[in-house]
Amino acid sequence: MLRKILLRNQSFLQLIIALFGALLGVVFLLVSVHYLIKVTEFGKGSEMLGPNILVVQKKVSTTTTLQLASSIFTQHEIQSIQNKSFIAEVKPVTSNNFGVEFATSDPMLPYFRSDVFIQSIDKRFLDVKSSQWKWNEGAEFVPIILPRDFMVMLNTFMSSAGIPQISDQLAEEVQFSLVLSNDNTQRKFNAKIIGFTNEVSSILVPESFMKYGGNTFGNKKQEKITQIIIAGKEKEFGLLEKFLDQNQYESKNAQLVTGRLKSVVSTLLIVIAFISFLTLLFSSFVLIQYIQLLISKNSYEVKTLLRLGYPSKSLSNVFIVYFVSLFGMLCVLGSVFFVFLKSYLDEKLHSTGIYIDFQYTFYSWATLGFSFVLFFVLTFISSKRNIMHEF
């Protein structure tokens, strides 16, 4: 009966507008926090939106060609790059100093061979995470990570040879071989593709295999570092890009685009998350104002009930339960919209070649929980205070 008395005199249009605002706030907050976490999550192995990793080399110019300038990175240079505030980590990229031949070795595929360039990078920089990424002498096969461009080239060859093109999945099941050689000897190794990368332009092999190749087939000269791999800090990509430009370093254009895109997307998502939070906060304030208005519109009823001997707590509980239930339903509805919107956006991203992790993040639900608790506290305080005001 208390609900019947206290929840009359409502302006439903005002309530609906406030609830709609809060619903939009909830949905956009969930979406923006979800994608913000996906973008900023470090080291989750997502290709497109992982950490800003660049393979960097010195720009080749006429002076370097004429050997007036060096294209080699010295230890001093590497150390000074490492010391920059916007750089998380720097490691040299090890390249082969021996002959390497890559060939198909599967009866299902036509024979294809090519002299190739192999490199190895620190495991932490790999955007393909696999338990197979290890090699020791006597291992059944050498795990390799293929540049996606190489796969495109291979498929172009397949196509011109009148053979169906192979998918990523199929390529990982086909047998390949690597032949390491020097002037005197050579050795063949079975190879298996375990993943693809957009970040490096050469075939990647485990560091232990590269070391073995260098020791067995290498020319024993001091290794020269012509490429380094850099992990830039989140949200400071602009500084990194400027630094590369000033020092005549260059990177793969696609990586720069990815890095720039990632920085822009991160910033945009932070802005959207902030705006969503403000929307939610303001609509919550409108709802709180609405509670105050409702209590003052029902001032006679509240006063009379207090005079009849009803405890103020049981009156404020009517408002708290009603509005917190409304907000709870709104959160559930907002979550359902979020699930649909996320599924739609994931599909859109997938269809445009952006392979982000599709798992839900704890943080988006935690944000929703935090919003609910915040609303509960505000409603609790507002209802109590306004009821006591009528005493």
Binding site: M1, I5, E301, L306, R307, L308, G309, P311
Partner: protein, 213 residues
């Protein structure tokens, strides 16, 4: 439960000339279980007195004590308990819920302490001639009918004092007598007293104390 007045003067009446017999600015005791009539012409503070005793107004000087407890020191919680179990009231403006039915208005009060059963409530309404109006909205009743509902509502709780602010102003003498009978019976059962304000002393009941303002 005795009520002590110790030089009480409501702020709005402070500029008013007080008579020798006036309740205001005097020391006075309302003894437990007594029937007290407060008689005064309009504008002398009869409703103000009821509101002070019920904690609706707090703008006064002096002290009002209930069994040595000063009303001005009561917390919200104490007032709630006081209104639920110690003191009940019939307001001059009745303070019913016009959108609720007669029965709902009674139950709203009765549900707090379950003082009477539904059958008893119906019997009371039958006594005051409103048994057919039980499910009608209070807003649709005449003032006299509403006054009877308010009187019955006021006894739907345990109390030591019943405050009646011109409770029969819209009632004919027959209905006033019936209502007074119900009030006296309810007070008698609980050994409670009542304070009744009136413009005159014609109240269809005997009383123990007459106070003029």
């Amino acid at each position: 439960m005795n009520i002590h007045f110790n030089h009480v003067l409501p702020t709005p009446l402070s500029s008013m000339q007080q008579t020798v017999n006036s309740l205001w600015n005097q020391s006075l005791i309302l003894e437990k279980g007594k029937k007290v009539v407060v008689e005064a012409p309009s504008g002398r503070g009869k409703s103000t007195l009821m509101h002070l005793l019920f904690g609706v107004r707090k703008d006064y000087t002096g002290e009002i004590c209930v069994d040595d407890k000063n009303l001005s020191t009561f917390s919200h919680r104490t007032w709630t308990e006081f209104r639920k179990n110690k003191v009940s009231i019939v307001f001059q403006d009745l303070q019913l819920f016009p959108q609720l039915t007669v029965l709902e208005n009674l139950q709203l009060k009765n549900d707090l302490t379950n003082h009477y059963s539904l059958a008893e409530l119906v019997a009371f309404m039958d006594q005051v001639g409103l048994s057919e109006k039980l499910n009608q909205k209070c807003g649709n009743l005449s003032m006299g009918q509403q006054q009877r509902v308010a009187i019955i509502r006021s006894i739907c709780q345990p109390f030591s004092w019943l405050l009646l602010d011109e409770p029969f102003s819209h009632l004919d003498s027959e209905n006033a007598e019936i209502c007074m009978g119900i009030i006296n019976e309810a007070c008698g059962k609980q050994e409670a007293g009542w304070v009744l304000t009136s413009l005159g002393t014609n109240i269809n009941s005997s009383y123990d104390q007459l106070i003029t303002i």
